[in-house]
């Protein structure tokens, strides 16, 4: 899993079956200091996150397992909204 900041929303009316009604958000992966890591990606939202939220995501097959139904073609899913990270 990894941290990210929600930067936008993707609107796609026509989607593959299983993804109807699912919200797609743009997420910039970041480190624990909110420093950007790599490119912005599109992720399925499972927790009603909003733009500007620090979230954590899960990728690969586990991203699909976060969805209902779970046998769906997704790369990344937002699975939590981060309240805080403690860094020494």
């Amino acid at each position: 899993m990894y941290l990210g900041i929600v930067t936008g929303t993707v609107v796609a009316e026509r989607k593959t079956s299983g993804l109807e009604g699912k919200k797609i958000l743009l997420v910039q992966p970041v480190d624990e200091h909110r420093k950007p890591l790599g490119d912005v990606q599109a992720a399925i939202d499972t927790v009603q996150a909003g733009v500007g939220d620090l979230v954590y995501l899960v990728g690969s097959r586990e991203a699909a397992l976060a969805c209902d139904p779970w046998f769906v073609p997704v790369d990344a899913a937002i699975v939590g909204i981060v309240d805080g990270v403690s860094t020494p």
């Binding site: 899993m1 990894y2 624990e32 790599g38 954590y56 990728g59 586990e62 991203a63 939590g80 020494p88």
Partner: protein, 85 residues
Amino acid sequence: MVGPMWATVKHPAYAGHPLFVVQPLDETGKDTGNSFVAIDHVQAGVGDKVIVVSEGNGVRQILQQGDVVPIRSIIVGIVDHVETA
């Protein structure tokens, strides 16, 4: 192990599992690659050097919460020391 993180709103599979940000290290303790998020299974503490499994099937075997568990990374050990030749 960088530090704990908190999330009130999260996927139900994560309920009851402490979350940590971890920074991968090489055998000398030098940072390698980007930090990521893992759940804790061994009561690790801040600053501990830990072993992390980053693979979903391993996580499902450890947690035994069924087959639909969207978790990929889990802390499975606390490293006491590393010897290098």
